[in-house]
């Protein structure tokens, strides 16, 4: 008997939840105010709900089908899994997106698919959903499409006309890892697909001789790496990300801690997902993109090339580079202020703005909402000079979590 829409929605959201991305930010601004139709994107993304896993639900994230001819060991939808299979029609996905959007449950659609028949056939179906939403229904909300690496260039080009973001998952940080756990995937082809997309995005950004730019994937491309499947350390993972950001100008690299799936593969025993490690990787990624850190600086602090799980990577860097502190809040340049544990871009901007008018004291920082406990050991300013950091041996203990106390009955 054919499964109901609700039953298939259950199966095809279960199938999609291991993709971490749910972002709806960073695209162009547009709305339906004057043009009619439905939907808008206004720069910052919106999380319309949060699941008890703490993740933002911004988009309707589903698969068109979870039938798949690939057999990637870590994937819930691999061909060797006995997970229940289902598929949506193009019209059903369009209907769900519009009805969910009208009720303000979502910002838009993130559509992916298992590979069925061929790459081109699968990609064609994804594009047809996006085309129908944009051209038949005047939908102006957010659309993120997964691109299939081997799909024909013309299909990717058409996808880019309708989608805000395209993504291809690199899956694992090393080629050897992909070869072992995802034997049907080809790292070189994934990279060349990313490279082609980057060229197309760059070309569209060039103004034509009439000064117009072409609208093409305004939210750029992103990818995902699964953490904890192969033996790669954090230094390898972050170097791989830096390469992706640099060479293919990706907007985001997502890290997804390998998490237990129903009907797991024999080749890959289930573990508790390394959530703290995933969190530290995101923090390190942030330091690389917004704080001016090199990847090597962040990963050099420990000999095994992994990030410290107990303290955040910025603090770990500061403790490993104590000779750079204390930083004078009233004199230091922005670059160095950003390296002070406990100061973020917002507080650094506020400091730069305020210190142009008067010399700042410690209590001024408190008024900016900065945690004095955290910054105090690393800064000097009017009314405050810390102990010389190099002289303190207990500094790590000030920040590392206390050992857990045993409970007596």
């Amino acid at each position: 008997m054919k499964k109901t829409l609700k039953e298939r929605l259950a199966i095809l959201s279960d199938a999609a939840k291991y993709d971490a991305s749910c972002a709806s930010s960073g695209t162009e601004r547009r709305d339906s105010g004057r043009s009619g139709g439905l939907g808008s994107t206004e720069g910052s993304g919106i999380c319309h709900a949060y699941a008890p896993d703490g993740r933002c639900i911004s988009l309707l994230k589903i698969l068109l089908t979870n039938f798949c001819i690939y057999d990637c060991a870590y994937c819930i939808n691999r061909s060797s899994s006995n997970v229940e299979r289902a598929r949506f029609s193009v019209e059903e996905v369009v209907w769900l997106t519009l009805e969910f959007y009208r009720r303000n449950y979502i910002e838009g659609l993130f559509l992916s698919s298992g590979i069925i028949r061929s790459s081109d056939h699968t990609m064609e179906e994804l594009v047809r959903v996006a085309r129908t939403l944009r051209t038949e229904h005047g939908f102006r909300g957010y659309i993120h499409l997964k691109t299939i690496p081997d799909a024909a260039p013309a299909l990717i080009e058409e996808a880019g006309l309708y989608a805000d973001r395209l993504s291809i998952n690199i899956e694992l940080p090393t080629d050897a890892g992909i070869g072992h756990f995802a034997p049907q995937k080809h790292p070189a082809r994934i990279r060349s697909a990313m490279g082609d997309l980057r060229l197309k995005i760059d070309a569209a950004a060039e103004p034509s001789f009439r000064g117009r730019r072409k609208r093409f994937v305004p939210g750029g491309q992103s990818t995902q790496m699964i953490v904890g499947v192969d033996g790669a350390n954090d230094a390898t993972i972050l170097a791989s990300s830096a390469n992706l950001y640099g060479r293919y100008r990706l907007r985001r690299v997502y890290y997804s801690a390998f998490s237990p799936i129903p009907d797991a593969s024999k080749a890959l025993p289930l573990i508790k997902p390394p959530l703290v490690r995933e969190h530290r990787l995101y923090q390190a990624d942030w330091l690389y993109r917004f704080y001016g850190f090199d990847v090597e600086e962040i990963t050099r602090t420990r000999p095994d090339g992994n990030l410290d799980l107990e303290i955040d990577p910025k603090l770990a860097w500061a403790l490993a580079n104590r000779e750079r502190f204390p930083v004078d809040i009233n004199k230091a340049e922005r670059e160095m202020l950003l390296r002070v544990p406990g100061l973020g871009p917002r507080s650094v901007n506020a400091i730069l703005s305020a210190r142009a008018h008067k010399a700042l004291r410690l209590e001024d920082l408190g008024r900016l909402g900065v945690s004095l406990r955290k910054v105090r050991p690393f800064i000097a300013m009017l009314g405050w000079t810390p102990l010389r950091l190099v002289d303190r041996s207990d500094l790590r203990d000030l920040f590392a979590p206390k050992p857990e106390q045993l409970n007596l009955f």
Partner: protein, 284 residues
Amino acid sequence: MLTILLDGHGELAEWRDAARALLLAGIPPERVEWRRRDMAAGDLFGGQTDSSPLPPPNPQAPTPTVARTFLDLADAVICHSDPARFALLYRLLWRLQAKRSLLEMKTDADVAQADRLEKSVRRDAHKMKAFVRFKELPDSAGQPRRRFLAWFEPDHFIVGRTAGFFQRRFTDMDWVIATPKGTSSWDGQQVRIDPTPAEKPDLHDAADDLWRTYFAHIFNPARLKVQAMQSEMPKKYWKNLPEAILIPDLIAGAEARVRAMAERAASDPPTFHHRLRAREKKDG
């Protein structure tokens, strides 16, 4: 002491008119008491029910000017429900006449307080854009435009501030957003704001059931992080979110689901997998 009474529904204009007159008359902030009209009316102990008459402008006073950044800040701060917001803004306006760069002094107590109120209004407005849930009205079918109604409970007076966002987004449908702090609506022609407190309507929409299905199945039980969820979606919002009713059971059942996944022995692949892999081998 002068008393100024305002409606305080998040409209900057009434405050701006009064503040401009006070400034022109050279009245310093410590001589003004700002109050909300509805609060003053309920005050049995001789509270004024009308604003004090404003003194005439001082002919020698220079025309007051103020930077755009202050007006943007004031436009947000005026929506805050803190009764001290009117006085805070007038104090800032007064001090700005002597010190043009005051707002850059992020460590100044008044500036820091205004920034805090602005941030809180911004967050409230952001959460409203996120957590409003429209329900389709039963008589919507067959109408030329579909009709939706939402109920939301904001902390601050942000119904007017967010109306433009909903109009730009939900242009092709009629909608009403009712709240205890007023109502906004759109009919395809005009956005209307009514400051009268509304009552919670009783409405059902069949689509909520599909949305709950999605919410339950996009959740990964192996990554339970209840704190992270609640810091972004505090419990005060749950009563108006159709999906929130599932949260306690999803949390309670998570551990058992993960254990079941781990205990289950690996199964034999389905037959189509064997066919696929055999063909792969043949094709080389």
